[in-house]
């Protein structure tokens, strides 16, 4: 069992997301993350779905996804064959005095400060899941007020 990513090309009709979500839920597959967006072709979207499973289950998932009529293509993305990134926006508790420390940490992770208030700094980070995990661990010492992660999204190389 390990973290895997599926890249799924779908026709962009209403209801496609619910068909895919329905397929996963009724067959007992867990979705760890899901990101959807438009592609170079009008009417076609790409989904990146993060799942935790073994080889056999992954094969079943891919086959079952293929059976859905609006699904055009299913690939597995791995770190060796694909470019994958995740966006995180993290609102950190930081007094005026603590701002410098948070900004330094953000610098280390090549993030950006996108908002500031008297008691918070909001950090935007782009990177692999591991990198964001590491940044989150570091920022936790200040206290994370709110956070959103998009889940990985990516494309095959070449």
């Amino acid at each position: 069992m390990r973290q895997r990513y599926l890249s799924v090309l779908v026709e962009n009709h209403s209801g496609v997301l619910s068909r895919i979500a329905g397929l996963f839920s009724r067959r007992g597959y867990n979705i760890d993350s899901l990101s959807v967006g438009t592609t170079e072709s009008a009417g076609i979207s790409r989904m990146t779905i993060g799942v935790t499973c073994d080889d056999k289950l992954l094969e079943q998932m891919m086959k079952q996804l293929h059976k859905l009529i609006p699904v055009l293509k299913v690939n597995e993305l791995s770190h060796s064959n694909a470019m994958m990134n995740e966006l995180a926006v993290i609102k950190v508790r930081a007094s005026v005095k603590q701002r410098r420390e948070v900004m330094d940490l953000t610098e280390i992770f090549r993030g950006q400060i996108v908002d500031v208030s008297d008691s918070t700094l909001t950090v935007s980070l782009l990177g692999t899941q591991d990198k964001i995990d590491a940044a989150v661990t570091q920022l936790q010492s200040f206290g994370i007020k709110e956070m959103i992660r998009t889940g990985a999204t990516g494309l095959q190389r070449g």
Binding site: E11, G15, S18, R19, G22, R26, K56, E59, Q60, K63, Q64, H66, K67, L68, I69, P70, V71, L72
Partner: protein, 540 residues
Amino acid sequence: MQAANYICKCLEDHGVDTIFGYPGGAVLPLYEALRKSNIKHYLSSHEQCVVHSASGYARAKGKAGVCIVTSGPGATNALTGIATAYSDSIPLVVISGQVPTFAIGKDVFQEADIIGASEPFTKHNFLVQNADELPEVMRRAFHIAQTGRPGPVLIDVPSDVQNNMISSGAMKLGPLNIPGYKPIFEGHPKQIKKAVHILQTSRKPLICVGGGIMRSDACEHLLEFVDKSGIPVVHTMMGKGAIPEDHPYALGMIGGHGHNLAKLAIQESDAILIVGARISNRAVIGLDLEHKDKSIIHIDVDPAEVGKNLTTHIPVVGDASRILSRMTEKLDQSKSIKWFDALKEEDTLCSIPEEQFNPVNIMKMIDDKIADNAIITTDVGQHQIWTARHLPVRGKRRFFTSGGLGTMGYGLPAAIGAAVAKGDKRQVVCITGDGSIQMTLAELGIARGTGQPILFILLNNSRLGMVKELQDKAYGSESYFGIHLDNNPDFYKIADAYGLKPYRTTTLDELETAMNSYNDSPEVTLIECIIQPNLNTIWG
């Protein structure tokens, strides 16, 4: 052209001359169009039966059955029928009415999200939001329902769309192209070669067939392969009828309720060719197919079924009839090993007293009296198992049952569908139980209305016998609860009231007399057999 008229024209263009339906407010335009068309409409008593009848029709005709239901409760009632067809891979085109497009999402009268609700049980479904979409949707629906692994497709048509005009441009269709749907028909030649090699080099090869043989119309191809290879055949419940059961190489049905010989054959075999069977939990209960000494070859048109329930050594994705004929061509010579003769000696048959009025002897009597091309339908329960075990599908007989979903109430409406499809050419016999028949009892009137001489045989033990048996196994004998049907009606009077010819029988002689009278002047008939309340499926 008005969309409702277009739907009827399109059905006629697809060769549909018969549909099953139940009208309502959201399909008024469609029914008005039907009234003016040449399509014959059969009104059922409940939307579940509408779909079951279309399923029986589809199985008898070998092409998609078509049915129409209204929005809201009409559509939700149809769901059980749709799910039943989906489980057994039966091709259907279900047209449901929907509230007008401007009212969708406002919880108006008889509105239900049938696209969402039917999604898990349909091969695909369409909501038609614009009349101009209809030509392409109708064409895709028939194509998807009938090709690859067949299944039900639902088209949800809002009532205002039915009234709208389709532009002439939208009716001009180019070549059919569904980018996300490319079923595979031809098996991979290398896989086919490997499969034949394994079968011919193993000592105890076996073939296990499922409902896919019927869906692919591959009975003849299977027979040729078996006759040339000399490899014996077992079948799943859905595979009953794939090979005549009196064929010398047919070893019977596998599964929890299957034949001993078939189970022995599975255990003994060293290579199994599975064709059109999904190796469900029911089919292989207690069998060790994952044994290291067994080579598994799996042919299925649905790639997702190969490797889903069983590790497969040689997967072959494609259409059973094409692959079996390729395999027959590849067979070196006929190598009739007949390794299973020893098994036949091992197979212990329990002796059944000959005169007793029990299900085994009843099935023997039915076997003697019904035609060699009869379509047999069943409901779900003990009678279904007794039929599957003891009523052989020989000659051109066919067996329609709800194998996957196990839907009580399937047999009666399915018999109607089969009779409407083939009634003048084939006898239709529905074997049912006192629990099951009451799920869809009101269809008896519809059965009479078809004018076809459908024969209903009702095994009445005043129990939900199968549940009783399960309770017995799970909680010990006498731990029965909620299975007594003490308030059963008088089925003789019920049959009479619906205009069927009624018989009540309590002995084999009485049953024989009733069957003879039916055969002398066939008319729609119900023969009730009063059997003992405490019989188990495997005993008999």
